[in-house]
């Protein structure tokens, strides 16, 4: 009969459905295998590592990782590189899941007047989520001034993989030689040089404005020249927070005006050009100079090849040559070990291995960072700029703490994104809107 057949089939069907539901439930509850860790002795197991991505440093890490795995065959490094924009969210999800043993972090100490504006990494360091590395023997290998610059509450929670400088410009030595130009040391000399280039039909500067931040590098250079010492920059930050100076004061507005001038010397429609196109366009001779950081020297060198020689000098935004003598920089990628790491042994062994001279030099040869250890051979490019980097000077963005309660126009706080052609304002309009946004945060 039809009904008995139906009942048997129903039983089979419900059995299959139950099985399917059980499988789905089991799969959703399943997670990937964890890593084993040894308590002491030689490192073994999986080492889960995430870093903020950049072509040079990625290659450097991969080279060191291969050497590490060769030395410790029991360790398997799971290495992930994440783009800068996505890094904060990946860091958060991995830390919450407890699936990371080694990561790049930037806990910046916030001065007392700016309490409440700590970045997430600073909050993590303050709540003890990073292993305290101060007493680790491998930290002794690093330059003292660098360790001081990156200390948090007097302790070292991160290992500095190197330094980068970014208030200067790369320049095409062949073009300079062709028109008899020499490296400018004052703002007027720079303007004169750019006028000569323009008159000869050469675009003076190339900027990758689409990504936003590359157009901010000349602004940082302007602050560097207007406030040449670290103490002056720290004082400026404090004065702004305590509202003793305004963003509409003449020096502040002057910074935006000089940035505007720089934009007028850049290539046509640079606001739409992506940062990644710049090395190729520079190699093609589309422009004579490009404001960029020393982290990019390996990429630019490989794009240019043997077409012409490359040099680098600080962008002179002041009339006094002595103000333009040094490059501002930052401590580059800093490696930290979370206290929730499952394989601390391997992570600490990796840090020790990384900071050994031979391996560190291997890393630097790919990454293009300046060394944060003394006595390391830096490579031809960095040697050439050593006069500009004899003292390590944190640039403005390393000294300044933005206020989350203020508007976004006051983040830098010199709002270069509002200037034409990135935005639609003049320097004085941008200064006024930044000041309004800043004052609204109090």
């Amino acid at each position: 009969m039809a009904t008995t057949k139906l009942r048997a089939r129903t039983a089979v069907r419900s059995g299959i459905v139950l099985l399917a539901t059980a499988v789905v439930a089991a799969l959703t509850g399943c997670s990937s295998g964890g890593s084993s860790s040894a308590d002491s002795g030689a490192p073994t197991g999986t080492l889960q590592m995430i870093v903020s991505s950049a072509d040079g440093s990625d290659a450097g890490f991969r080279a060191v990782n291969a050497a590490f795995e060769k030395k410790y065959p029991g360790v398997k490094i799971q290495f992930d590189t994440i783009s800068n924009a996505n890094y904060p969210s990946v860091e958060a999800s991995r830390l919450t899941a407890g699936k990371v043993d080694l990561l790049t972090a930037q806990p910046l100490q916030v001065p007392s007047y700016a309490e409440g504006s700590e970045s997430n990494d600073a909050k993590l360091a303050a709540s003890g989520q990073f292993v305290d590395l101060t007493k680790e023997p491998f930290m002794k290998r690093f330059t003292a001034s660098v360790l001081t610059a990156q200390a948090f509450n007097g302790k070292d929670y991160t290992m500095p993989t190197g330094l980068s400088y970014y208030t200067g410009v790369y320049y095409n030595k062949a073009i300079f030689a062709k028109y008899g130009l020499s490296v400018p040391t004052t703002w007027s000399e720079f303007l004169k040089l750019s006028a000569t280039l323009k008159a000869d039909g050469i675009t003076p500067l190339g900027i990758g404005g689409k990504d936003g931040w590359p157009a901010g590098l000349p602004t940082l250079a302007a602050v560097e020249s207007a406030y040449p010492t670290l103490a002056e920059r720290q004082q400026l930050a404090e004065d702004l927070w305590k509202q003793k100076v305004k963003l509409t004061d003449s020096t502040m507005e002057g910074i935006l005006e000089k940035t505007s001038t720089i934009y007028s010397l850049a290539q046509q429609d640079f606001a739409g050009v992506p940062y990644a196109s710049i090395p190729g366009d520079f190699a093609a001779g589309d422009f004579a100079m490009t404001p960029d950081g020393t982290w990019d020297n390996a990429v630019i060198a490989s794009a240019v090849g043997s077409k012409f020689d490359i040099g680098y000098f600080p962008l002179p935004m002041s009339e006094k040559a002595s103000d333009n003598k040094f490059l501002g920089g930052k401590v580059e990628l800093r490696l930290a070990v979370p206290t929730s790491a499952k394989n601390k042994t391997a992570a600490l062994a990796y840090l020790d291995f990384f900071s050994q001279t031979k391996n560190y030099e291997l890393f630097l040869s790919h990454a293009g960072f300046a060394p944060s250890e003394p006595g390391i051979t830096a490579g031809a490019f960095l040697d050439a700029i050593s006069s500009y980097t004899s003292t390590f000077q944190p640039a403005w963005d390393m000294v300044w703490t933005p206020n989350n309660k203020a508007g976004t126009a006051a983040v830098v706080p010199f709002d270069y994104t509002a200037l034409t052609p990135l935005g639609t304002s003049t320097a004085s309009q941008a200064a006024q809107s930044a000041q309004a946004a800043w004052a609204a945060g109090f």
Partner: protein, 304 residues
């Protein structure tokens, strides 16, 4: 056969089981997170382990509506409304016209339908990459075409043009779905209606206006609603094409992403509690707009 129960399924224990499982999954992965977002919008949670979480009441909402952030929020809101409005209208109208065209007996119409639908199949990242390359001012195809006319443009870098280009790419990517939904609706219209209208002396355009559109009203409702809700929340294209910090194309969803997870140069990341409060504001906004749209469209449908 006896019925042993009423809702949801009489007698079918199997169906009750699977229905229940489906509702459970929806509740766990849909409803619970939504309620959780509402709850955390009253805290300063950062999403990172070990950092203390405090209940701060309405402070996040007050900060969102504070004078300091008002400028940025209104900018994002305006961009979102323009983006949603223009892309929905063009997608629906354009989709309808293209669907009517592709409903005719054309040679190779299957090929044309496939071509129209293809952008929908591509992922957001691929679309973003393609159009970023096309609109690269230093030597991309877009720049070459403009050079033929003797002009130039910064495309996504031009603050006056950026939003328009993003809307264009959004329409390009979403037209396929509208066309498919309209085609399905069109094929359900009986030919007798058209024949009757033709006998009464209606021209092609009148047939479209007086027969096709009214009968297609449910499809139009679907498309407009889908378009509005999708466009008000989608930020992926704007993010891939112009980044998250570009004021000219910053949408409400991008604002949430930047506030919750930080963005390069986009400012300090606030707590995820703050991002959750912006999400709730967006939810209310999208909800209100959708309800109004639904009301209007249902009324037009009922008139048929």
């Amino acid at each position: 056969m006896t019925t042993t129960g009423s809702f949801p399924f009489a007698r079918k224990g199997t169906m009750r089981l699977t229905f229940g499982a489906g509702i459970a999954i929806l509740a766990v992965f849909g409803l619970v997170p939504a309620v959780a977002v509402l709850v955390i919008s009253f805290t300063d949670i950062t999403g990172l382990p070990g950092i203390p979480i405090d209940w701060i009441g309405l402070r996040n909402y007050l900060e969102f509506f504070s004078a300091a952030h008002l400028g940025d929020n209104l900018n994002a809101l305006r961009n979102t409304v323009v983006f949603a409005g223009v892309s929905t209208v063009v997608q629906v109208v354009g989709g309808l016209l293209i669907a009517v065209l592709l409903n005719q007996r054309l040679r190779g119409r299957t090929l044309y339908r496939a071509i129209v639908f293809m952008p929908t199949v591509l992922g957001v990242t691929v679309i973003g990459l393609i159009w970023s390359l096309i609109f690269n001012p230093s030597g991309g195809p877009g720049a070459s075409v403009l050079a033929l006319f003797g002009t130039h443009s910064a495309f996504f870098g031009d603050p006056n043009l950026a939003l328009g280009l993003v809307i264009f790419v959004q329409i390009w990517a979403g037209l396929g779905i509208s066309v498919v939904i309209f085609l399905a609706g069109l094929q359900a219209i009986p030919d007798e209606l058209y024949e009757a209208a033709a006998l009464d002396g209606a021209s092609g355009w009148q047939r479209l206006r007086l027969v096709t559109v009214p009968v297609l009203a449910p499809s139009i409702t679907t498309n407009v609603l889908l378009g509005i809700v999708n466009a008000m929340q989608s930020y992926q294209l704007a993010y891939v094409l112009t980044g998250s910090a570009n004021r000219a194309t910053q949408l409400l969803s991008t604002l949430i992403y930047v506030q919750g997870f930080g963005g390069t140069g986009g400012g300090v990341a606030e707590s995820q509690g703050y991002a959750a409060s912006i999400s709730i504001v967006q939810f209310v906004l999208v909800g209100v707009v959708s309800l109004i749209a639904l009301r209007i469209l249902r009324r037009r449908e009922a008139r048929l």
